[in-house]
Amino acid sequence: MEIFLELVLTGIMVGSIYALVALGWTLIYKCSGVLNLAMGELTLLGAYVCLAFYTWGFPFPAALGATLIIGFLLGLLTERLFLRRMIGEPVLSVVMVTVGLSFFFRAVVGFLWGTDTRVFDPPVFPREPFRLGQMVFGQVYLWSFVAAVVLLVVFVAFFERTRWGLAMKATADDEMAALSLGVSAKRVYALAWAIAFMAAGVGGTLLGNINGLNISVGTLGILVLPAVVLGGLNSIPGAIVGGIAIGVLQNLSGGYLERFTAGGVKEIAPFVFMVILLLFRPYGLWGWVKIERV
């Protein structure tokens, strides 16, 4: 029982990071209809930028802040240069532009930082494990969880409480009506990409703190896809719940199914789950039922 609880709690903590990245994904999809396959590479890029600042001697919060700023600028730039022209194009073209960008970003990361696993040195979070009754967690999980939750709250508050958030919600709901009320759709798209880059950057930094940072953090970022499919592509609460659920599912399958197989279940369990889900409920938990039908 303790093992079960430990797995679930760790899953929730890792899942909160997925939730953060999934939130960025959903935001882009909701506002501009772009299906982004480059999310993994965005997490990778953000994580390495933060690592670079950290190794130059910035304190961790400052490095994270710098990552957020750079992510914001890169998001604006990417949207302006590549994605704005693709709005309204067929699914394949848009997806492949993001695939092209993912090749490019991964190449940039590999070119600048190489393939060796890097760690945040000195460690950002204390090494002593954290105890709760009989259960033991790494402190890094706990702090990542706290950071992810804080950011999730900030982003949700941004949508609910600010003028810009309202503009984004309006555009997502009905672009034409929003335009006629004086909302600039271009700025909304740009902002959505900037926020997605920022969320992915923080998510990548947290993931990099858990296991060390190498190019495979990018494949962890692909896990947001099952998460958003579970939540329904265009639902922000769905993205958060989906991210956490995928984290739990992954940890449980790693804990219980690994012994029956030769290994590697942890990596593919979310995808198998996603295929089964797609067969029975393609619109996820809270997605619009009519979405993606012609």
Binding site: L35, L37, F82, R85, M86, E89, V91, L92, S93, V95, M96, V97, V99, G100, L101, S102, F103, F104, F105, R106, A107, V108, G110, F111, I222, L225, P226, V229, L233, T261, A262, G263, G264, V265, E267, I268, F271, V272, M274, V275, L278, L279, P282, E292, V294
Partner: protein, 354 residues
């Protein structure tokens, strides 16, 4: 749309259906065939090996073109079916001692059936959701089943290595790039001819109808589930052939040859060449492979200025490929095949503009 020159009159339906309708075109094709046969004898081994890579890319991308360009089913997991073909061929030869042509056929059919299995969701989902299921096919097949289970058959470690001289067709031993080249030419020409003819039949027209509007196709009486699965089967068979050829030219397979990156790469090749065109597959493969080889030379030329650059060539290559996809989609969305048609039309119509 290609224009016929003045003064060509068809007297029989047969002539009108012919692939090559004028003597000029037939001569051109004969010249091309002669060039393809003579080419490896006149150049150095390096170019022959590059040609083999081009051929492998063409064989791999044909299935992607069929699914995406002809039938409209977006797939991002085609490397999985190539892997199934490659591994089935290798296992057939190593474990069961089958001759190469037989295990090639077995591998191709197995890859086709495996592809149908992952095509089943296409009966219910499309667009982005289908992208997700095909991506899942990639992870389940290559990263799980092949890496964890299939690789361990026979206890050979992580990759299957074929002893030299085992890849034989009858008495013909394929043990050099040159011989693999001729096998490649036979497979590529055969596959393209088969697919091109298939696309002119009832089946091909049904696929195009599904691509253009599946609901309309269904109301016209096309059984869309059956034809979608057929498209997945044929694409899988083509992928399996590609995998089997990979063995004959490299003598070993490893899961690392069939990553998600390779699946995405193939879709990129198809986009650069031109969606929905078989010529596009050839142009795309040639363009991507040759450009990247040229880039390799350019990078090794810069060795004196930037000593670490050649070590990082892999990243330069991937970055350049990523940017190429993006720029083609932004500025030449119909790909190289369309540009080629435009050029041909320009010369056909000269001195008039249209």
């Amino acid at each position: 749309m290609a224009y016929l020159p003045c003064g060509v009159y068809h007297e029989r339906y047969r002539q009108e259906h012919a692939w090559w309708q004028t003597r000029f075109v037939r001569a051109k094709m004969g010249l091309l065939a002669a060039l393809l046969l003579v080419f490896p004898l006149t150049t150095n081994p390096y170019l022959v090996s590059v040609a083999n890579i081009v051929g492998y890319t063409i064989l791999s991308a044909l299935g992607v073109q069929l699914l995406i360009g002809v039938c409209g089913q977006i797939t991002l997991g085609h490397a999985a079916f190539i892997a199934v073909g490659g591994y089935a061929t290798a296992i057939g030869m190593l474990q069961y001692g089958l001759p190469y042509p037989v295990s090639l056929l077995v591998g191709a059919v197995l890859a086709g059936l495996w592809s149908v299995l992952f095509g089943l969701p296409s009966a219910r989902v499309k667009g982005f959701y289908l992208i997700m299921t095909t991506m899942a096919a990639q992870f389940v097949t290559v990263d799980f089943i092949i890496t964890q289970y299939v690789s361990r058959i026979g206890g050979r470690g992580h990759y299957f290595s074929l002893p030299p001289g085992t890849v034989t067709i009858g008495p013909w031993v394929i043990d050099s790039d040159l011989k693999a080249y001729y096998l490649m030419i036979a497979l590529v020409v055969g596959s393209i001819a088969a697919l091109a003819n298939l696309l002119r039949t009832r089946v091909g027209r049904a696929w195009v109808a599904i691509r253009d509007n599946d609901i309309a196709a269904q109301t016209m009486g096309v059984n869309i589930v059956r034809y979608k699965l057929l498209a997945f089967f044929v694409a899988g068979v083509l992928g399996g052939i590609a995998g089997a050829f990979w063995i004959s030219s490299l003598y070993f397979v490893s899961p690392e040859h069939f990553t998600l990156g390779w699946s995405l790469w193939l879709v990129g090749v198809v986009l650069i060449g031109g969606i929905g065109s078989l010529q596009g597959v050839v142009f795309g493969s040639l363009f991507v492979t040759l450009t990247l080889e040229a880039l390799g030379f350019a990078v090794s030329g810069l060795r004196d200025l930037f000593p670490t650059l050649p070590d990082k060539f892999l990243y330069v290559k991937e970055g350049a490929f990523g940017l190429a996809i993006v720029f083609f989609l932004l500025y030449e969305p119909r790909g190289l095949a369309y540009r080629w048609q435009q050029m041909k039309n320009y010369f056909n119509l000269w001195p008039f503009a249209y």
